[in-house]
């Protein structure tokens, strides 16, 4: 039987506060990314287990069906699912007890309104090992080739865009700044607008924001952010029920997409939102939501 190894390394943001985790087989012939990187770091623990079963649990995208990141779980829960055949977990990495309290050992399978359902398929009938994990070797896993889906060429400007997004988060997370995730509502809204500005620059070109259309688009996004905060706050503090929340969210999303469709040419709309202006994305049906989640 092969060996499954839990690996971990500090995340770049908020280093020393939470670790990323991933799983590899003992000889490094195969690793599963668990929503993040799958090279480097340090081994945490290992145990014998079927690598073939681990691979089936991981699924081709290597996320072990933790479908919505930070909703069903994080990398810790994805890694734990893949480690099930070895009977070990990533217990002990930084941030683990927090994520475990929030999402459980193997993630939360239930979603909302049919979104983010994350069943844990254990594949208990599978045994044996992947050919690439069967060879005796040793040491840390070698760099893995990217999966086919990930190996598609990056669109031009992607690296620069991601770098700017990371810089924005890093600035917000600078010492004394409280972190991007500790911002008050007004700061958080401004932060989201800056992120959207970067996305606009990337998708529509840096010059677009200087045009009247660009200014109108940013104004629409700012308006959305302000109204979204009101809707979410009311729901968070139970001032509104689930039906009102979904209806209000739907209205906000449709309104923003309608405004964007008025501002942008169709190809610009598709480039920015990756959707068709004729079929706006909405959250769900309030009536279905009331039936499905009467206690929410």
């Amino acid at each position: 039987m092969g060996t499954l190894v839990a690996w971990h390394y500090p995340t770049a943001l908020f280093a020393d506060q939470a670790d990323h985790t991933y799983v590899a087989c003992g000889n490094g012939g195969k690793a599963w990314s668990c929503w993040g990187g799958k090279t480097g770091g340090n081994p945490l623990r290992s145990a014998p287990g079927s690598t073939l079963r681990a691979d089936a649990i991981a699924e081709p995208n290597e996320r072990a069906n933790i479908k919505c990141y930070l909703v069903n779980g994080v990398c810790h829960q994805a890694a734990n699912r893949i480690l099930l055949p070895a009977g070990i977990t990533v217990r002990g990495v930084r941030g683990y007890w927090l994520s475990e309290a929030l999402y459980g050992t193997y993630g939360r399978p239930r979603g909302f309104l049919g979104f983010c359902e994350a069943p844990f398929h254990q594949h208990s009938g599978i045994s044996g090992d992947l050919p690439q994990c069967a060879e005796a070797a040793g040491g840390p896993p070698a760099p893995m080739p990217l999966a086919a889906a990930e190996a598609e060429p990056e669109p031009p400007g992607m690296a620069s865009y991601l770098s700017q997004v990371n810089s924005l988060y890093a600035q917000a997370g600078a010492p004394g700044g409280g972190g991007a995730f500790a911002l008050d509502a007004e700061e958080a809204g401004a932060f989201q607008l800056r992120l959207f500005g970067l996305l606009t620059d990337f998708k529509l070109g840096e010059e677009y924001r200087q045009t009247s259309g660009g200014e109108a688009l940013m104004a629409a996004r700012g308006d959305f952010e302000q109204r979204r905060d009101e809707v979410e706050r009311a729901f968070f503090y139970r001032e509104t029920g689930v039906g009102e929340f979904v209806a209000a969210y739907n209205e906000l999303m449709i309104d923003f997409q309608r405004q964007s469709a008025e501002i942008l040419p169709e190809n610009g709309f598709r480039a920015l939102l990756a959707e068709s202006p004729e079929t706006p994305v909405v959250l769900g049906d309030p009536e279905v939501a009331r039936l499905a989640y009467p206690e929410a």
């Binding site: 390394y9 500090p10 995340t11 770049a12 908020f14 280093a15 020393d16 506060q17 939470a18 990323h20 993040g36 990187g37 090279t39 770091g41 623990r45 919505c68 990141y69 930070l70 909703v71 994080v74 990398c75 810790h76 099930l84 009977g87 070990i88 977990t89 217990r91 002990g92 990495v93 930084r94 941030g95 007890w97 927090l98 994520s99 475990e100 309290a101 929030l102 999402y103 459980g104 050992t105 939360r108 399978p109 239930r110 909302f112 069943p119 844990f120 208990s124 972190g179 991007a180 995730f181 500790a182 989201q192 992120l195 959207f196 979410e232 729901f235 929340f245 994305v281 959250l283 929410a296």
Partner: protein, 151 residues
């Protein structure tokens, strides 16, 4: 977090009786889930979450930790689960507008809310033993794309 306590090292005595060892905790938590259906019913899911909490308390606080305080922690987690479901909206919006991986701000806010409410039930030593935050803000791993540069 666990920075000050290497994995598998002893824990301080909190006066709530013996605790599950790390290895015993692993065995029990894995056994709790092994063979379960992929999507449990709502009641099964609730029972599983409660059993997980009981194991976590036995492991990090002590097996004699009072039942009334266990119940109060459970009530916090029940609220956490309801609030977690509301993250779905933020997830969808994030995908639409920013291509973010997940609703990081809201999830971290929820994590902070959970720790704050656990602190209403646990004293500081108990809270540290349960979460191992080491004085740091509660943070989830939200930036997991690549390992940091080697020194």
């Amino acid at each position: 977090m666990s920075a000050d306590r290497p994995p598998d090292s002893p824990r301080p005595d909190l006066g709530h009786g013996p605790r599950l060892t790390d290895e015993e905790y692993d065995r029990r938590v894995v056994g709790l889930h092994e063979g379960r259906p992929p999507m449990p019913s709502r009641e099964e899911d609730r029972a599983l979450r409660r059993a997980e909490l009981e194991l976590a308390i036995d492991h990090r606080l002590g097996r004699d930790f009072p039942a009334a305080r266990r119940e109060r922690l459970w009530q916090v987690l029940e609220q956490v689960e309801r609030r977690r479901l509301r993250l779905v909206g933020r997830y969808l919006l994030g995908r639409l507008f920013t291509r973010e991986k997940g609703p990081a701000k809201s999830a971290n806010r929820l994590a902070g809310w959970m720790v704050d409410h656990f602190a209403d039930v646990l004293d500081p030593r108990e809270l540290e033993s349960f979460f191992e935050l080491g004085g740091a803000e509660p943070r989830l791993p939200v930036d997991v794309e690549a390992p940091p540069e080697e020194d």
